[in-house]
């Protein structure tokens, strides 16, 4: 098996070198005249199993594409394996997919630790690791890992968007930051500082962290209030974000609040905090929220709702992970379309890094997917939203991180 793969790769490289038209390079393993076999790992079991629906919605999306005739005549066969969010299992399952199932590439495997665990293996073997399902900024390092690409805006993008908005609308702000003490929180902190540049030292009056194991962040909020900050950046996961919003209101602080999009759920965050206490809070977003009444008659979201009804009838239409899966799968289909008849791994990676102004029905109007050989972050734009007491209202222009 190994030698055959090596041979295939070698012949692919030779063919690409000889023929000026890459259309005749050898196809990747897993590609036949009728099928493109791809693989991924998903936490269908374990602590992160809520994300499992992403894999299911992607499988459903490919089923729809296949019923419509596939991509350039080939059907997409997604093999989605459970890794329980455990990196050793991810490595095992990914090796199974690559070496035994002979998939063409790995698509949208989920989680920062699992993707970290397989990144070296996939890059050493020149297997594309496309559109990883994590917002960690380290996935997009095209120099060291030319076979690994992200998809959603990373946490740094949003941090930068917040900082840019503060610089333009409130240049004399005194900023307090609450962040979760892990790579998610630190990505935020770093990007805000980076974007503020020289002014970071004077504008950020206080930064406070919390551990996920802490029961509340009340004392952190009081510390921030005491610092005299008038602008509050909340880089917290839902439970803590709700506590922070409520406490900031109850203590009579009432700063201008920027809330991470990780916690923008009205049901899970703003309601528990108290809707009236969150009026005026800002966040940034890139996708359409399936529970937001504003997209009730939106053609893009209607297409998604039809898809859900027909191909995923058991799926939860209030679960935005299903919107996410639909969007990523649609991006992949575009990449495969661009490949045409040449489905070598090199070509697939080349086309993944060659997306130009791709708009998706589930992305906010104006948000476009762009990649290049030196840009491995497909979505770098977000738009600010303000909470009006019942829903998030988009305002301003689409901003780039």
């Amino acid at each position: 098996m190994w030698s055959r793969r090596t041979f295939l790769k070698a012949s692919a490289a030779t063919a690409a070198a000889l023929a000026s038209r890459p259309a005749f390079a050898a196809n990747a393993p897993g590609v036949t005249d009728t099928e493109i076999k791809i693989g991924q790992t998903m936490p269908y079991s374990g602590p992160a199993s809520a994300y499992g629906t992403i894999g299911r919605s992607e499988a459903a999306y490919f089923k729809m594409i296949n019923e419509q005739g596939g991509v350039n005549g080939r059907k997409i066969n997604l093999i989605s394996l459970d890794d329980g969010y455990s990196p050793p299992k991810t490595v095992e399952q990914t090796r199974k997919l690559v070496e035994q199932e002979q998939v063409a590439f790995i698509f949208n495997s989920l989680g920062t630790p699992p993707n970290t665990a397989i990144r070296d293996y996939l890059n050493d073997n020149k297997v594309p690791q496309l559109f990883v399902a994590t917002g960690a900024s380290k996935f997009g390092d095209y120099k060291r890992y030319p076979w690994t690409m992200g998809w959603q805006p990373n946490y740094r993008t949003e941090g930068a968007v917040f900082a840019k908005h503060i610089l333009s609308s409130k240049p004399n702000a005194k900023i307090g930051i609450l962040y979760q003490n892990d790579d998610f929180g630190k990505d935020y902190l770093d990007s805000v500082k980076e974007t503020l540049g020289d002014k970071a030292a004077s504008m950020i009056v206080k930064e406070v962290s919390y551990e996920v194991s802490e029961p509340t962040v009340d004392s952190q909020v009081i510390t921030l209030q005491g610092s005299g900050a008038d602008t509050f950046i909340i880089a917290a996961t839902p439970k803590f974000a709700a506590q922070a919003l409520r406490k900031a209101y109850d203590t009579g602080w009432k700063p201008l609040e920027y809330l991470t999009d990780v916690s923008l759920s009205i049901g899970a965050v703003l309601k528990p905090a108290g809707l009236e206490k969150c009026v005026g809070t800002l966040t940034a977003n890139y996708g359409k929220d399936s529970t937001d009444p504003k997209w009730k008659d939106d053609p893009g979201m209607n297409a998604w709702r039809e898809f859900m009804a027909k191909y995923m009838p058991s799926g939860d239409v209030t679960d935005n992970f299903n919107v996410y899966g639909y969007g990523v799968a649609a991006t992949l289909v575009q990449v495969l379309k661009q490949c045409g008849a040449d489905l070598s791994r090199e070509r697939i990676m080349k086309e993944a890094a060659n997306l130009k102004d791709l708009e998706l029905p589930t992305l906010l109007p104006g948000i476009k997917i762009n990649t290049s050989p030196t840009n491995y972050y497909p979505i770098r734009q977000m738009q600010l939203e303000r909470f009006n007491g019942t829903t998030w209202e988009l305002f301003g222009e689409v901003l780039s991180g």
């Binding site: 394996l81 455990s86 630790p113 070296d120």
Partner: protein
Amino acid sequence: MLNLELASSAEATSGAGFNARRAAMVVLGLIVVGLPFGLSGFRVFQLSQVIIYAIALLGLNLLTGFNGQISLGHGAFFAIGGYSMAILSAKFGVSYWFAIPVAGFLCFGAGFLFGFPALRLGGLYLALATFALALAVPQLLKFKPFDPWTGGVQGLLLSKPAAPLGLPLTRDQWLYFLCLLGAALLFWFSSNLVKSRIGRAMIAIRDHPIAAETMGVDLALVKTTTFGLSAAYVGVAGALSGLTVGFVNPDSFGLFLSLSIVVGIVVGGLGSIWGMVVGALFIEFVPNYADQISDVLGEGAKALPWAIYGVLLILIMYAAPEGAAGAGRSLARHGRRFLPRRESPSRGT
């Protein structure tokens, strides 16, 4: 019930059974050594995982099967072993030849110390205390002041070692043999240990602590040492796991790992040495097959693999209540009836 393992091995060492057993061992040994040359890299990797699990299972079985102390938290020692390996090699550039035994010794220390509170806790209370250990360690690994060493939530990457001395082996094959070497040493050691004076003391404590104490067994010393030794085995397994996977992270050592190790020793057979290989094969392969079976049931069945796994587990416990080792023994007993000229009847157990 006392020591089935001793009885059966004592039988096997007498007369014709000895040669047959030895021949079987040689054949098995040749297969085990030859396997990595006939399989894909992925399969070799999987078999390395099996060997690693077997070492860990043996470690827990020394504690639970032979000494009667229950632990639901051995994943914690697996984590300590894995992180010792990763920190020593990634931060200090220590060779894995050195780092693996060091991981074992560190875990021996940790296990020995944990053995003291364990002395005061019996049965379910010990199970709970060790459970807490399994919960606490992954969180401690994320603890901010430890970040410079543990890498926090990001974990640590390790580079997989190439075969030394210019041996014509792939990295996967070399790691397989490294795991095999470790397993051979540890299996050899423990099969001798349980037959020794200390081993008999361990078993006596399991079966009747008061009687054992009356006979002059130092309960506290034997129990804490067994805990330490057990942790050391699991630590070595953790170190080998870190090396073969090439990455350690708090999420690698969740509660599920601890529970899998317990499942493995029960499936393999409590108080058995070689049954642990079967237990390891079970925890490595059965979840994968359960996943495949649930795929056959159609889409939307992605939630089922663990239900199927559970059903399989119940069936196995029903068919072989004493695990693989027990099933093997009863097969051997039944088979012997049909053999002519068998002189000494098997001992009552």
